[in-house]
């Protein structure tokens, strides 16, 4: 094989991009259109930077890693939440319409304040291990079955891009809803035997319309998650956990059935 362009060159792409600067409310939100000639392996990261550098230097958007691991660049791509950096224009039609993610505070144009949302979520769900005993620097690490470690890692893979929140029918109308990412975060810690929180503690956070019972089961979160997190399974695990019924994570893993005690 060779690294030949994976697509036709020379297609003219029309970008219609949402514009609004909250510090200049006198300018109404609107769409600006830009045209670019498509290049091989062009991603929305490359395209948006070209638009900024060649057409409009004031255009706001967020990228950091540009390799789909940092979660900065979630946006609405032709109406669907996704990571701009890992979206090849080859997979999109000639007209590409970009909006900021809904459900988050707008910074400007395509940039939203996911950082603030996720910090608040982390505080609310207390997204840290509630230690059972202080760290002992002299001791070797506590043992953990590797299957359980892998199951925890599954939930840990969330990159906080906000696509699931933007796609969630409930999160868009109820700002108190902990959201798909929040539920996934709770499941990650609820599964971790190093965390001292009990079923009763989790019940307080989970068992309400702002928690796991707020989910209407539309499951757009599961459809749009760029990391293919097993959100459906995580929610099922949490529902069972609130009933005190979960004896094992539903990420069926051998050898951890009794880990939750």
């Amino acid at each position: 094989m060779s690294t030949k362009p994976s697509q036709e060159e020379g297609r003219t792409l029309r970008f219609e991009i949402f514009r609004y600067d909250p510090t200049r409310p006198e300018v109404e939100p609107h769409l600006d259109a830009f045209e670019l000639v498509e290049q091989p392996y062009m991603t929305l990261y490359l395209a948006l930077n070209r638009i900024r550098e060649e057409h409009d230097p004031s255009l706001q958007f967020d990228f950091a890693c540009r390799s789909a691991v940092c979660g900065s660049c979630g946006m609405m791509i032709n109406g669907r939440p996704g990571l701009a950096c890992s979206t090849l224009t080859a997979n999109l039609p000639d007209v590409i319409r970009l909006h900021p993610l809904p459900a988050f505070e707008l910074v400007g144009d395509l940039s939203v304040d996911t950082g603030k949302w996720f910090r608040e979520m982390a505080e609310r769900t207390e997204s840290w291990i509630h230690e059972r005993a202080p760290f002992d620097p002299e001791a070797i690490e506590e043992r953990m079955d590797d299957d359980l470690a892998q199951a925890i890692y599954e939930g840990e893979r969330c990159i906080e891009c906000g696509c699931c929140v933007a796609g969630c029918g409930v999160a868009n109308v109820n700002p108190r809803f902990v959201g798909p990412a929040g539920l996934n975060r709770i499941a990650r810690f609820a599964l971790d035997p190093r965390d001292a929180r009990s079923d009763t503690d989790w019940f307080e956070v989970l068992a309400s319309d702002d928690g796991v019972f707020g989910c209407l089961g539309l499951m757009a979160c599961d459809d749009v998650c760029p990391k293919d997190l097993p959100l459906r399974e995580q929610y099922a695990y949490l529902r069972r956990r609130t009933m005190g019924a979960a004896r094992a994570p539903l990420l069926q893993v051998e050898g951890v059935a009794n880990a939750q005690g």
């Binding site: 900024r52 890693c65 690490e141």
Partner: protein
């Protein structure tokens, strides 16, 4: 400017090193403000895929591992450019740091007892893992190490570690100011008192006054533009801040690591774990060239060595031609779909998302790509910047200097948390001993300077050169002239070009002069510093007439321990058109300079005895501007411990 705020500790940079230092300070009860360009979890630490080196010795291929072996590998890997005391501190503390991360919830991959299947040097092998180690932290093989030592969390080690550490930051209630950048350090008479900051949401300026300021801004790979694995935010802001004081030196900027496997064309990193797990490098003929070139380590020789062999293949016409230049192949097909879908899932995803290929079926186009800045803000072993009390630096932003001229894979992630712990403690000591003794007028004066800098940009008439064109020219120059292989002629050309670009920047104009969040202005302000870092990199490489680690001079192929067993220091005096250079001793030497066991370079030996060299180190450091350390130089050395693990190493007669 909005009003000045005060705090005990200002940490600039929200990646692992900054957050770990912040935790140390916050745990001690200090008031910490953490500044970050992006929400901390989006810092580039999250992108580290492969692992974190710590000598726990848990799996069969790691049995018998010790911090001393880790120390030896690190110093060899550095091509003896490291400060050996710092390498020792690092290797000794890495196991505790990794276990602490387990305590904080990192889902480290664990030892599965019994018969397990791995790939070693491309061969499928079965190894029995010990029952008594079941469930302890597992290791994988990385380049340049004697044992399997890299601890890892599936394929997302940096991500998992950053999330656990940030969880602690949230738990401790550390105030995080994200989308905020520092534009100048506030300092007077060799003391630093915080920074002038700019909000990236609104463009508003402010001042943060602090008893201690910690630079934790990561590397500066973006001086290579898109020819780097680094995130877009790795623009050397911390190094630029330190340099702009005119007092603090940068160490060894010419020491630039190229990662063997950057994806073509995007530059995205494909982890060393691929080769650790048995991936092959192939040339255009489909040959595994590393087997003949490095029979012992093969694909797992250290990164500088592998990168050079790859570039040589390309120079010899054995690269694969493409629209994006020549490249080689990373072949993972023989590892199988199941392995790729679990242990290397992120790699599989990257190939799908950015190339539209499946690595289980097709080889991956790769070439050496700028990856890591061994150089940075020169600090002593306490993380204290040279010549500037109250200023500290940690992680990739710093030249602490455990990496010397080549960093081993998995040592940077480990450095972030180890240095965060070690330096964080020194920051606490410093703050407890100091009161905030700074006038508001000093902060105002620095803020006014920043306002003038911004006004100069926004007020400059239109029609000057584009900052984007200058950035691209800088990046191409760095790649083509200050890359894997270097020559005096090309480096001189690079210096000329970079000087010209500095002149261009002085008359460049913005097309968008609006206040508020102005991404073009943001880049313009950073580009001033990046051009300086580029020039110091090129001039340091030009001056260093030897080859050491990642610094490979075709016109000076030998390592020269007689002249160049030293560190380059660069300062940029205020108002000067050019930087000034000095050198200092590399540090105390315990493991005598010798052959690395791979790379097969020749060496010109020291004419001075090691004892004489060591005797001159404390004074050499002090003369170079190092501040006093909490413990004397050498207090943490474990003299001669390496003899237990490397008894065959020839010791020069003159040592005794």
């Amino acid at each position: 400017m909005q009003g000045a705020r005060t705090c005990d500790v200002l940490v600039i940079g929200g990646g692992l090193a900054g957050e770990r230092a912040a935790i140390e300070a916050a745990t001690a009860g200090l008031g910490v403000v953490l500044l970050s360009l992006v929400p901390p979890r989006r810092s580039h630490s999250c992108a580290a895929q492969g692992g974190m080196q710590a000598a726990l010795g848990n799996c069969t291929k790691a049995l018998g591992d010790t911090p001393t072996l880790h120390f030896v590998d690190t110093v060899k890997g550095s091509d003896w450019g490291a400060d050996q005391e710092v390498a020792r501190i690092f290797a000794d503390e890495a196991p505790v740091a990794v276990r602490e991360l387990a305590h904080w919830g990192v889902p480290w991959t664990r030892v599965r007892p019994g018969r397990q299947t791995y790939f070693v040097k491309g061969e499928r092998v079965e190894i029995d893992e010990p029952e008594d180690k079941a469930g302890l932290i597992m290791h994988r093989d990385f380049g340049g190490t004697a044992k399997w030592r890299a601890c890892y969390a599936a394929a997302g080690t940096g991500h998992a570690v950053l999330y656990a550490v940030d969880g602690e930051v949230v738990r401790l209630g550390v105030e995080v100011l994200d989308r905020m950048e520092a534009l100048a350090l506030i300092h007077e008479g060799g003391r630093c008192w915080g920074a002038v900051v700019r909000c990236l949401r609104t463009g508003t300026l402010g001042a943060l006054l602090a008893k201690a300021t910690v630079l934790a801004t990561g590397g500066h790979g973006r001086i290579y533009g898109a020819h780097t694995t680094n995130a877009t935010i790795n623009e050397g802001t911390g190094a630029s801040l330190a340099l702009a004081t005119g007092v603090v030196p940068l160490g060894n900027l010419e020491a630039v690591q190229f990662h063997p496997t950057g994806l073509v064309p995007s530059g995205i990193l494909v982890t060393e774990g691929c080769r650790g797990d048995g991936g092959h490098l192939l040339n255009a003929r489909g040959e595994r060239f590393m087997v003949d070139l490095e029979p012992e380590k093969q694909e797992l020789a250290s990164r500088d060595v592998v990168s050079r062999h790859m570039m040589q293949q390309i120079k010899d016409g054995l690269g694969v031609e493409s629209d994006f230049g020549s490249h080689l192949w990373l072949d993972l097909r023989h590892l199988g779909e199941a392995h790729l879908a679990t242990k290397l899932r992120e790699v599989k995803d990257i190939c799908r998302d950015f190339l539209g290929i499946d690595p289980a079926r097709e080889p991956i186009p790769v070439r050496p790509t700028q990856h890591y800045s061994m150089g940075g803000v020169r600090v002593n072993k306490d993380g204290q910047a040279y010549g500037m009390e109250g200023l500290f630096a940690v992680g990739e932003a710093a030249c602490w200097d455990m990496h010397g001229f080549n960093r081993l894979g998995g040592n940077s992630l480990a450095e972030t948390v180890v240095a965060g712990r070690v330096v964080g403690r020194r920051v606490v000591d410093h703050v407890r001993a100091k009161s905030l003794d700074v006038s508001a007028s000093l902060a105002t004066a620095f803020a006014v300077d920043v306002e003038k800098r911004i006004a100069a940009w926004t007020g400059r008439p239109a029609g000057g050169p584009s900052i984007y064109a200058i950035r691209d020219a800088m990046a191409d120059t760095m790649l083509e002239r200050v890359g894997v292989f270097r020559t005096g002629d090309e480096l001189e050309q690079a210096v000329d070009t970079l000087r010209g670009l500095e002149a261009d920047l002085a008359r460049a104009s913005l097309r968008h002069t609006g206040s508020g969040s102005n991404p073009e202005l943001t880049l313009a302000l950073r580009l001033e510093g990046m051009l300086r870092l580029s020039r110091i990199t090129a001039e340091g490489a030009l001056a260093r007439t030897e080859s050491r680690g990642a610094h490979a001079r075709l016109d000076h192929p030998d390592r020269d321990d007689d002249r160049w067993l030293c560190r380059t220091l660069a300062r940029w005096p205020e108002g000067a058109a050019d930087p000034s250079y000095a050198t200092e001793p590399v540090g105390l030497i315990d493991l005598p300079p010798g052959d690395r066991g791979y790379g097969r370079a020749t060496t010109r030996e020291m004419s001075q005895s090691i004892d004489a060299h060591n005797a001159a180190v404390p004074e050499g450091f002090a003369r170079a501007g190092a501040l006093a350390t909490a413990e004397p130089i050498g207090a943490r050395m474990a003299w001669g411990a390496w003899r237990e693990v490397d008894p065959d190493r020839p010791v020069p007669d003159r040592i005794e």
